[in-house]
Each structure stands twice: as C-alpha cells, then as structure tokens.
C-alpha cells in the first residue's frame, strides 16, 4: 500500500481521495480511500429490480392518463396515502443518515466517521430523489408544481411550502456534495479542487436544511388539530420527528453498510457501524423520553391504556425504539454484527410505524372513510424503492463510494 500518492492519479485507480476529506489527512491512509467496487452491473438481482421499475412505469402511465383515482384508493377522508406517508415522510427520514453522518464528520470533526460519508450521501441523494418523484406522482395538478417556487404564488405560512422548498434545495445540495465523487472518478482535478474549496458551505447548508424539513414533516400535522388523536397530536411533533429521523437515518446507514458488505463480499466496518447505531439508538431513547413525557404533561397518557388498536400501536412503536438501545448498550454487544443489524432494523421499523400511525392511523376526519393502499399504489412504492436500490448499486460499482478494500487495493 503506497502512502505517497501522486497528485492526479489515473482515473481508473483513484488512489487518493480529496473529495470529502480534510486536506490535512495523510495521503494514502488506507481507511480514507474510496474506490469503485467494479464487477458486472446486470445480474439476476438488478434485472429483477429493473422489472419492478417497469411495473411502476405501467401503473404511472395509467395514473397520468386516467387520474389518481384510477390507480389509488385515496379519498377525501384520506387525501394523503402511501405515496406521501411512506415514500415521502418515511423515505426521507431513512435518508437522514446523509446529513447526520456529514454533521458528525465535518461539523463535529470526527474523522472516524469519514468512511461512512459517501455511502450515506449516496443513499440520501437517491432517498430524496425518490421522495421528490413520489410527490410529483401524487400531486393532482403536477404540471403546476413550479408554483411552489414562484414568488407570485408562494404562501409562506404554509408548512408544506417550507417543506417542499427545503427538500428541493437539499436535493440539489446533495448533488453538489456528491459531485467530487464523480469528478474523482473521471480524474477531473481542477473542477474537483474548486468544488472542494466551497464544499464547506454546502455541507453546512446540507445540515441545516434537513433539520428544518424533517421537523416540519411533523409540523405538517399540527394544523390538523383534533383530527389527529391526542396521543399523536402535540406541539412537540417537530422535535419528535427530528429526533426519530436521526435514529432512522443512522439505522439505515447501518443496514446499508451490513447489506453492502454481504452483497459485495467486503469486510464489515463493524466498529464504525457500532458507533453509528449507538448514536441512533440514543436519539431513539431521547425520542421516547420526549414522547412519553409530553403525553404525561398533556395528561393524555391514560388514553394509551385504553383497549384500542391505536394504543397498541403506540406501545409497539415505543418498544421498537427501546429494544434497539438495549441490544447495543454495551461495547461487547456492539461486537456482534447481527445485533447491530437487528437493532438497526427495529429502530427503522419503529420510526416507520410512528410516522405511518401519525399520518394514517391517528388521523381521522370523521366516519365513513376508509383507506388501504391499492395494488397500484403498492406497485409504485415498491418500484420507487427498487429504482433507488438499483441506482445505488450501480453507483457503488462505478463510482468511488465505498472505502477501498485493503486486499483489493493490493491486487489492483
């Protein structure tokens, strides 16, 4: 392993990474490097994903030709369904690893998280692209979507305005944050150095924006007032959504790290993932304390003990936030990759259920309305996730995203 890499290495062998690293990082420190994984792009797995994307396209064709009602079960009692509650609200929270890891690495200056930055940014980028696409499919008058950004139309009191502006800007910021990776791949040194000089600005904005819109995804529900069950309706919604999204985002990073280690037969960054999940579960605990404390303070905790489906869900969610913290509480426990993985999955599912409950179960506009997602809605959601996984897989193979494997580097 060479330690002094030449400036402007051959594009196919990016030996030294400047993209996101601190300039004073020693050149060639093995764990700081990233490299394309390589290998064949098309195999049975990726072909299967592509097939799911095609199914989605067929459903979307119907949606655009015959209207939303033709493919969804949405109605005036549940005007927001799967596409908003899952693809936007849950999807973007699972993509919160991008800003959290960037915050740890660059704002708190914790170099040990550096290898996780690129994979997390990549996942965030496609997570947000997926959320944006879903909004576009969902809004009825999609050809007018630009009104959200046009001064003549914008309505600044609308939380939805803030959320959409913030999410769109953040997606662009994620693109910028990710460009050094692409420039590095093609060996374009000059533009890469130019971007690196201003990258700090995008990193800072890229931490601010998600804290704003992730909390605002909770604030969206505040105006529903009594239409949202008191166990879920609270002024703390923004804080609850923010804390839980950090837990979910880090859980997703751990999930993806474990899965990609298995899928690409790479060594697992055990220690790093252990640290990340610990931060995630700690935020999960903070969520739990805030949530229960807030319910107690508002005097509605008693409602959680009534025999209703919602109070059952309330406790299932709480357990899903508590158990992961217990699973990875000790350093010894964090040495078991399976534990980390299970903790990450539980935490992510906990956050997912919490969001689903808040948006769909605890929300009630009056009798007579029911909602369960249609096959078409499911096909689109599944297709969007397939698209995301496909895009990430291809990017990992072609671009220097994952840390370079020592053995791979030797043999290269």
């Amino acid at each position: 392993m060479s330690t002094a890499a030449p400036h402007g290495a051959h594009p196919a062998h990016p030996v030294r990474e400047v993209g996101h690293e601190l300039p004073h990082v020693p050149a060639g420190a093995a764990h700081e490097e990233a490299a394309p994984v390589g290998g064949r792009i098309w195999n049975r797995f990726t072909a299967g994903l592509a097939a799911l994307v095609l199914v989605m396209c067929a459903v979307l064709a119907m949606r655009f030709i015959r209207g939303i009602g033709a493919v969804t079960n949405l109605n005036d009692g549940y005007p927001w369904g799967l596409w908003i509650a899952y693809d936007v609200v849950v999807g973007s929270a699972l993509a919160a690893g991008g800003f959290t890891v960037a915050f740890l690495t660059y704002i708190l200056n914790r170099g040990e998280y550096h290898p996780a930055v690129r994979p997390a940014l990549l996942a965030a980028l496609f997570g947000y692209v997926q959320a944006g696409m879903s909004v576009f499919f969902d809004i009825g008058r999609y050809w007018e979507f630009w009104h959200m950004f046009w001064p003549r139309y914008v309505q600044v009191n609308s939380v939805l305005f803030e959320v959409s502006l913030c999410i769109t800007t953040y997606t662009l910021v994620l693109f910028v944050e990710f460009t050094p990776v692409i420039l590095e791949r093609f060996g374009w040194e000059r533009p890469r150095q130019k971007i690196n000089r201003v990258l700090f600005f995008f990193v800072a904005v890229g931490v601010l924006l998600p804290t704003m819109h992730q909390s605002s995804l909770g604030s969206l529900l505040v105006i529903f007032g009594p239409q949202v069950h008191p166990l879920y309706q609270t002024q703390l919604l923004p804080l609850l959504f923010l804390t839980s999204c950090i837990g979910m985002g880090l859980a997703a990073v751990v999930f993806e790290g474990t899965v990609s280690a298995l899928a690409f037969k790479r060594h697992l960054e055990q220690e790093l993932l252990g640290k990340l999940i610990r931060i995630g579960t700690t935020l999960g605990l903070a969520f739990l304390v805030l949530r229960i404390g807030d319910c107690a303070r508002r005097g509605v905790l008693g409602l959680a003990f009534q025999p209703t489906a919602l109070s059952l869900l309330f406790w299932i969610e709480n357990v899903l936030f508590l158990v992961p913290a217990l699973l990875v509480a000790t350093e010894r426990a964090r040495r078991h990759p399976q534990r980390l993985f299970v903790a990450a999955c539980l935490l992510a599912v906990g956050g997912l259920l919490y969001r689903r409950s808040a948006y769909l179960v605890a929300y009630e506009t009056g009798a007579g309305f029911r909602y369960f997602p249609s096959m078409g809605e499911l096909a689109v959601s599944v297709g969007l996730v397939a698209f995301e996984i496909l895009a990430i897989t291809i990017a990992i193979r072609l671009l220097p995203v994952l840390p370079k494997e020592p053995e791979a580097a030797e043999s290269a």
Binding site: T3, H7, V18, L22, P23, H24, V25, P26, A27, A29, G67, I68, A70, T72, D76, G77, P79, W80, Y106, I107, L108, N109, R110, E112, D138, I139, G140, R141, E144, F145, H147, M148, Y153, V154, Q155, N157, S158, V159, L160, F161, E162, N196, F200, A204, V207, L208, M212, S216, S219, L220, V222, I223, F224, G225, P226, Q227, Q235, L236, L239, Y363
Partner: protein, 342 residues
C-alpha cells in the same frame, strides 16, 4: 472561534427555547383573526328546514356541477348526494331516531342539517395551501379557490376541520371543489343560490352582523309564539308568518375554531347531526404560532447556519495547498479524532 461545546449547547438551547416558547407561553403568538367588517355568510336554521333539497339542486345548477349517482339499498338514485364530493358543494343530511316521526326531537325524531363551506374567520385551508390557491377575501371574508394556482396537493382537503374541500380523483386534470358562496353571482346582484331557492328561509343569506342579530332575535323568542321569518336574503323584504322554535343552547360556527361566517341553529344537539366538536382556538393560529416560534424572523435558522458554516469552514477548508504538507499519518489522524487542529 466557537468551540464545539458552546455550539452544541447553543443549538440544544435553541430547540428547547422554541419548544418552551410554543408550549408554555403566548409570547409571539400569531393573533386571532377578526371577522371582516363586511363579512357575508349564511344562517341555517334546522328547525325551519323541510328537507326538500331544492338548495342542493340549485347549488348544482348555479355552479355547473354534474349530477351524481347514489346507490342505496332501496335503489339507484340520480342527484341525491349523501355527502359533499368533487361534484357536490352542498348537501342536506338527516338525523333519524326510532320511529322518526317527531321533527327536531331527539327520541323517535328527525332533524335536518346542511353541510357546506363554513367560510371560517381563520381558515385552515388558506393557512395550509402552499401556492395561495385558497384565499380569504379581506372585505367579504369569502374563502375562494383559484384553479389556476392550485397544484392539487390536497393539503386543504386533509386540513379543513369540517371536511369541506373535495378533490376530483377520477379526472386526469383534477381540481378542488368547494362552496364559494356563489360569489360569481354577486356582480349581477345575485346571491347564494341555496338561500335564494329555500322555500322556508331555513337557509338565509346576509351580512354576518345582521345574521348574528337574527340569531339573537330567534333565540329570545318564546317557543310557540307567533313570529315572522325572513326568506332568501336578509333585508330584502320577503318574509312569512311562523311559529317560534325551541333551540339547543349552541350556535354552531359562532365560536368554533375562531368563528365562521356560516351559523347553524338546531333543535337537536349538534353531535347528533355529526357536526365535529371543535376547539375554540383556530388550528391555523396554533400551527402558525408554532412555526413562528421555530422560525421567528428566521433568527434560529440563520444563527444555526452561521455556527455550521464556521465549524465546517474550520474543519474542511484547506489551509495550505495539499501537496506541500508534511505527512505524519498517525499524529494527524489522532488530532482530528480529538476534534482539534493538527
């Protein structure tokens, strides 16, 4: 230079302060909106309604809404809508108990109620719409919808506490539909079609101030006494002789969510008519106050961004051209892990 600890405690303090400010005090709260001086509205007196649904048909005609098919157990009906929809802006609903023979009685009785936009003083639909497609007229207070601006996000559908705005899901180029008090007819001296056709004056159109006085007058009457009921538009001279009714002690819409421009009188409790029980404080005010506390003059986000920029700059920006630096792998990484400068 800001140290990390300072920064973190500052950020945490900011969030906590915002939370405290919004939950415990009214400081900086967005003020409740007043009723516009020339507010226009409707008074619906359920005790006068005979359930003829002339108002439903007239509404469809005046607003060019298509007829709707309703399948019931007893058969298949045209234009007998049971609820608001993308095709229906106004419906009359019925409460029925037991034998259903006594008008405006709870037991063995029946009663009618009207469902249409309440033209809230502080409307949720206006507060949530991201593109100003829902607006409240500053003079008449009519809550209007602009098809041209709307993006079809349906936040208004979700947010309206009365479930009023409806979306046309079955259209490729859909829209929101809701009552706009027949504002398009005002220019020619017309007014709300539902009030115009109502044979009993159960639906009455007028200035909210006058309607409020009419409510007070009816409530003050002794049930059974002879009285006159205006018809159509309050103050246009059309009236008839009737008998004073007994009302529950609640004018629906008078105080709900900061008040509305449509007022309801009833002989049976409003819960039985499926009118939602709502807080007095407008959800729009609550939500905007919370957002205002978090984003007060954008000070918190700007301050947060400043701290982030300072730290990101310090930790990322090259101090020297990279190649000219001495390479001391172990030492430098260590320093970085501690968060200090190398």
């Amino acid at each position: 230079m800001l140290s990390r600890r300072d920064f973190l405690s500052g950020a945490a303090g900011g969030v906590a302060a915002a939370a405290v400010a919004t939950t415990t005090t009214d400081a900086g709260a967005r003020e409740a909106k007043p009723m516009p001086d020339h507010a226009l509205g409707l008074l619906f007196d359920g005790t006068l309604c005979i359930g003829c649904r002339a108002c439903v048909a007239a509404c469809k005609e005046a607003n060019g809404m298509p007829p709707e098919r309703t399948m019931l157990e007893g058969g298949d009906y045209w234009d007998a809508p049971l609820d608001l929809s993308g095709k229906t802006l106004n419906v009359i609903k019925c409460y029925r108990d037991g034998a259903g023979t006594r008008k405006d009685e709870v037991n063995d009785g029946f009663a009618f109620t009207k469902t249409s936009c309440m033209h809230c003083v502080d409307p949720s639909c206006v507060s949530v719409c991201p593109v100003s497609a829902m607006t409240k007229d500053p003079v008449t207070g009519i809550v209007k919808y602009s098809l041209e601006a709307c993006i079809g996000c349906r936040y208004c559908v979700a947010a309206c506490p009365f479930g009023v705005p409806r979306f046309t899901y079955d259209e490729a180029f859909p829209r929101i539909n809701k009552c706009q008090l027949c504002e398009q007819r005002h220019a020619d001296g017309g007014y709300s079609a539902c009030a115009e056709v109502c044979p009993t004056g159960a639906t009455l159109y007028g200035r909210v101030k006058d309607l409020q006085q009419e409510v007070a007058r009816r409530k003050a009457l002794t049930p059974g006494a002879k009285t006159t009921y205006p018809r159509g538009r309050l103050g246009n001279g059309d009236s008839y002789q009737g008998v004073a009714k007994r009302y529950v002690d609640h004018v629906y819409g008078e105080k709900e969510i900061g008040g509305t421009q449509v007022l309801h009188l009833s002989g049976v409790p409003f819960e039985l008519l499926n009118k939602p029980k709502l807080p007095l404080d407008a959800p729009a005010r609550v939500a905007e106050t919370l957002q205002g506390a978090i984003y007060h003059a954008l000070m918190a986000p700007i301050g947060f961004l400043g701290a982030l920029l300072a730290l990101a700059y310090r930790h990322m920006r090259p101090a020297d051209p990279p190649l000219e630096r001495g390479v001391e792998p172990g030492a430098s990484v260590k320093a970085r892990e501690k968060g200090g400068e190398p």
